[in-house]
């Protein structure tokens, strides 16, 4: 009997479904677009419905004015805060007021929009209902996953009420105690009074947007998988270039020992860009936004050209700090973002070996790194000559290192200095590695390899690159960096290159900051490190 009942029931339900198509699966009514630190939340709302000319011509414009004011309340407030110290959030209310021929007709709801019934005359309590929330004080991501329902009664709404109700469509819970909630009873608070610290704020009892609301919006988007937690990287890269020997190419013998020590801080931010590997597989890209970098480059360099052209001596230490455009050009990078569905570790590439027997081997590693990447792989490049600056500007970065010796001097002393600079000081410095988990905190690694002299003896400079960073995720209530580190500080100049005291701006443009030159040997969309550039091999060429 039971079996017959179940069969009959299933057939009946099936027939009912065929006759009345069920709702298609769709995304939530609140959508997010991310472009570096710029995050736009678009709240897509269907309002049902307009029924006559008065509602269309008189009441609708009034309502739209109120909604525009509510949007301004959010955006004016959010403009004062960076969410989780990373994101600049802007909100768009995408309102579509629907029309229907009669009040009996089915509402012409649009897919992808929240569904709000409107009433122009009655003093009801406006409400957005979240079926997944059991606690009105909790933030939820339902608005980003579902099309929520509700009712808005225009006659009893104010811009604050509009802004508050739309706050629910951003996922925010109420910041006031509900009358019969356990939370209120446990706190011994009066009903409808604001939660601790929430007095005067928009989801509480006022109209202010504060840091708390901005941070909670970022948290919701991160929780919904629509925004990556930004991370701060802070640490150092140490590079050495050592040569001792002889090359017949220029009949040079001698030695050099250069060391570069770079301390840096930068932020990792999501972009809407992606890259593809050789097989066309797409990887979402996080960009690095440089915050600061200081450097110390030590030179101990004596090359002798067997009396033909005399010798070249470079000694001393250059120190400086890069800011502004110079920083943006000198420190670039990216990381392939871990997607929610992606495993922490994919098949390729293997963990990089620390040591490479030949320059070719290192080149092969770099090639494999870019043709078969996996989520979590990162790269960093340091270069001083990224903008093609004139020689005097570049030379200024090495103040403290003196050029002497009897070799022929280039007609321009600055060009002469740059010509004898060894590789990787710093141009050509590339760091390639992979995070194992999205939450990874300690990031370190090492590359050592011989950098080939172009001469026939293939004598080499020995390159060693070591890096060590602390990577701090900023998705919790963690303040990753103080306000003084603000990477979006106002710009005073666009050419802040300097050695010595910091000046000018820092960049907040991660997309531009992540601009990467792709050599022809690799797929065009894959981030590729800079080839060594600038001073060359360090061996004087006539």
């Amino acid at each position: 009997m039971n079996a017959l009942f179940l069969i009959g029931r299933n057939i009946t339900l099936l027939l009912a479904l065929l006759a009345f198509p069920h709702e298609a699966k769709s995304a939530g009514g609140t959508v997010v677009t991310v472009n570096g630190p710029a995050v736009t939340i678009t709240v897509r709302i269907n309002l049902c419905c307009l029924h006559d000319a008065v509602e269309r011509n008189i009441l609708q414009p009034l309502a739209l004015v109120e909604i525009a004011r509510a949007q301004a309340m959010w955006n004016d407030g959010l403009a004062k805060f960076q969410a989780r110290s990373c994101y600049d959030i802007n909100i768009i209310f995408d309102i579509r007021i629907l029309s229907r021929s009669s009040r009996e007709a089915a509402p012409p709801w649009e897919d992808g929009y929240h569904r709000l019934v409107i009433d122009f005359d009655q003093p009801g309590t406006s409400n957005v209902f979240d079926p997944e929330s059991g606690d009105p004080n909790e933030d939820t991501i339902s608005a980003y996953r579902l099309q929520l329902n509700g009712t808005w009664y225009f006659s009893s709404m104010t811009p604050r009420t509009w802004a508050h109700e739309i706050g629910h469509l951003l996922g925010l819970g109420d910041d006031y105690y509900h009358r019969d909630s356990m939370r209120r009873m446990n706190a011994g608070a009066r009903p409808y009074t604001p939660l601790p610290g929430r007095s005067g704020t928009l989801m509480g009892d006022g109209d202010a947007v504060d840091q708390n609301l901005a941070d909670r919006l970022a948290d919701l988007m991160i929780q919904a998988g629509l925004l990556s937690p930004c991370a701060q990287w802070e640490g150092r890269i140490e590079v050495s270039n050592v040569f001792a020997g002889r090359t017949l190419a220029m009949d040079v013998h001698g030695r050099h020992n250069w060391r570069g020590n770079y301390r840096m801080k930068f932020r990792e931010l999501p972009t809407t860009r992606s890259v593809s590997d050789a097989s066309g597989r797409q990887f979402a890209l996080n960009a690095f936004v440089p915050v600061e970098m200081s450097y110390a480059i030590q030179a101990d360099h004596h090359h002798d050209y067997d009396h033909k052209w005399g010798d070249v001596i470079l000694r001393g230490q250059a120190t400086g700090k890069l800011t502004g455009r110079a920083l943006k050009d000198a420190l670039i990078g990216s990381v392939l973002r871990f997607e929610a569905a992606a495993p922490a570790r994919d098949s390729a590439p293997p963990a990089p070996p620390g040591s490479f027997a030949s320059w070719r081997e290192f080149q092969d590693f770099m090639g494999a790194f870019h043709t078969a990447p996996r989520p979590g792989c990162y790269q960093l490049s340091i270069a001083f000559g990224g903008r093609g600056q004139p020689p005097n500007e570049l030379r200024a970065l090495y103040n403290g290192i003196d050029r002497s010796g009897s070799s022929p001097i280039h007609p321009g002393p600055d060009a002469d200095f740059l010509r004898v600079m060894p590789s990787h000081m710093p141009d050509g410095t590339n760091v390639l590695g992979c995070l194992e988990t999205p939450e990874q905190r300690d990031v370190k690694g090492e590359h050592t390899y011989p950098y080939a002299d172009p001469g026939p003896l293939n004598s080499t400079e020995q390159i060693s690159i070591k890096w060590s960073f602390v990577r701090t995720l900023c998705r919790d209530a963690v303040t990753c960096w103080p306000a003084s580190d603000n990477a979006s500080a106002p710009s005073n100049s666009d050419d802040g290159q300097t050695s010595g005291p910091p000046s000018g701006e820092a960049t907040s443009d991660p997309v531009a900051g992540a601009a990467i030159v792709a050599p022809a040997a690799t797929p065009p969309n894959v981030p590729t490190p800079n080839a060594p550039r600038g001073g060359g091999s360090g061996f004087l060429r006539p």
Partner: protein, 216 residues
């Protein structure tokens, strides 16, 4: 499969009934143990008697939904509960009537609530009357312009004078400084002017259907 075809259970049943597909109704009834139809039928009544502070948002959602989908049924249910001794149920009934009444049905019942000792009930009835073209609610709204009582049932938290302000500005073409009044004191300061206006306009005031606002 256009969005227009997406319908709720209520719409399904309504369509079936209007199409005379009784067999399908019986089949659904049998398949669901009759609960779907019964629940649909009882939604207005349930929305009123189950109104609860424990989940006020859900309570309002059910009432608002019933008001949208079963307007007449909710109004009828409200009229039978207007004098309920349970203040919570009585408020829900007044609320249900407030969102479903029209000039022909419910106006006098709402007018009867204007004498309530509850600020929530009184203002809700006053606003509802204004919304259906009945000017009897204006004195209560004007009187509340200096009333800082926290309304017990409104979400988000609303003071009586703020509710009165929004209603008066929405339904009339008058201002008397109320629109730009931001503090409670500024709102209260407009009360005398509104009272004078009411005394002057109470007889000639009527709702202009072309703009759905009250004019003299």
């Amino acid at each position: 499969m256009t969005p227009q075809h997406r319908v709720t259970t209520t719409h399904v049943l309504r369509r079936l009934r209007s199409s005379g597909i009784n067999a399908a109704i019986v089949a659904i009834w049998a398949a669901t143990g009759g609960t779907a139809l019964a629940q649909t039928k009882n939604l207005p009544e349930r929305a009123i008697v189950e109104f609860s502070f424990a989940d006020l948002k859900k309570s309002y959602h059910l009432l608002n939904q019933a008001g949208f989908e079963q307007r007449a049924a909710l109004r009828n249910a409200a009229l039978t509960r207007l004098n309920d001794t349970d203040a919570r149920v009585r408020y829900a009934a007044i609320y249900a009537l407030a969102i479903t009444a029209d000039a022909k049905a419910g106006a006098n019942a709402l007018a009867g609530v204007l004498g309530s000792g509850s600020t929530d009930e009184r203002l809700l009835a006053a606003g509802a009357l204004a919304g259906i073209g009945d000017k009897r609610g204006f004195p209560a709204l004007i009187d509340a312009l200096d009333d800082r009582t926290q309304l017990e049932y409104r979400l988000p938290p609303t003071l009586a004078l703020h509710f009165a302000k929004s209603q008066l500005l929405w339904f009339t073409t008058q201002d008397f400084g109320l629109k730009s009044a931001t503090s409670d004191e500024q709102i209260a300061n407009t009360k005398a002017a509104w009272q004078q206006w009411w005394q002057k306009a109470r007889f000639s005031l009527h709702r202009d259907p072309k703009i759905r606002k009250y004019v003299e």
